[in-house]
Symmetry: C2
Subunit: 135 residues, 2 copies
């Protein structure tokens, strides 16, 4: 899907604890640093839909498992990606795509490394049932 | 301690899951974005000592509880900070300070938003017993 990049990330295992890469400024999909925040999502709950008009999202799931659904309303195309420590990738979502996400595990947390700081004026929201998707 | 900033961070509670702030580019302690990575540490294990000569660390603990100890070898001063979701702060550590950290909870994870990309040439390591500290 145009505007979406899925990048495999390195996990470095160590006896005392592991290191999980998230993002380097030289990585594909890095459109600048504006803000980093965590979002948790309860099992079976869904947050969305939201479309950013300026922000590039870079999403990593260090805890649990989260199902992301991206919807391109220009070509009417859906993309579904599940991320977790066992399927450890970074999901880059460029502006003008709709996104929603669902908690799959018992405890689920994403990190978003966003290209700009939070600005309510650059995003639009729809209720879950306003975009038809079989969750 | 010079070169250390402890900043309270916002937690936004929501029925479906929470949002935990980590860092904005306009925040105090932001010295540029080089790389973001997670590090886990087992209960009672200690990683360290390490001193960076160029990197500013910005440390947040979204999972578990981690005890950080910072040592300034110029003035022979120690600083001890425990971070967790219940004591949710960002710990900024500027270059030329020694740091080690210990896992306190059953599962512990930190996010480091580092000002430069990983470069083994800009950090030095000491064994745990080479800096006397009562863990």
């Amino acid at each position: 899907m145009d505007g979406v990049i899925l990048t495999s990330l390195k996990q470095i295992h160590n006896q005392k604890g592991d290191v999980f890469h998230a993002m380097k400024k030289s990585d594909n999909g890095f459109d600048g640093f504006g803000e980093a925040y965590f979002s948790t999502i309860n099992k079976n709950d869904i947050k969305g839909w939201k479309k950013h008009t300026e922000m590039t999202l870079n999403l990593v799931v260090p805890v649990g498992e989260i199902e992301f659904v991206i919807f391109d309303d220009v070509v009417n195309d859906f993309l579904n990606v599940r991320l977790s420590q066992n399927n450890y990738h970074r999901l880059t979502v460029r502006p003008n795509l709709w996104m929603a996400f669902k908690g799959i595990g018992d405890n689920n947390m994403l990190l978003n490394i966003a290209s700009i700081e939070h600005d309510p004026k650059e995003s639009v929201n729809l209720e879950l049932d306003e975009i038809a998707y079989e969750w």
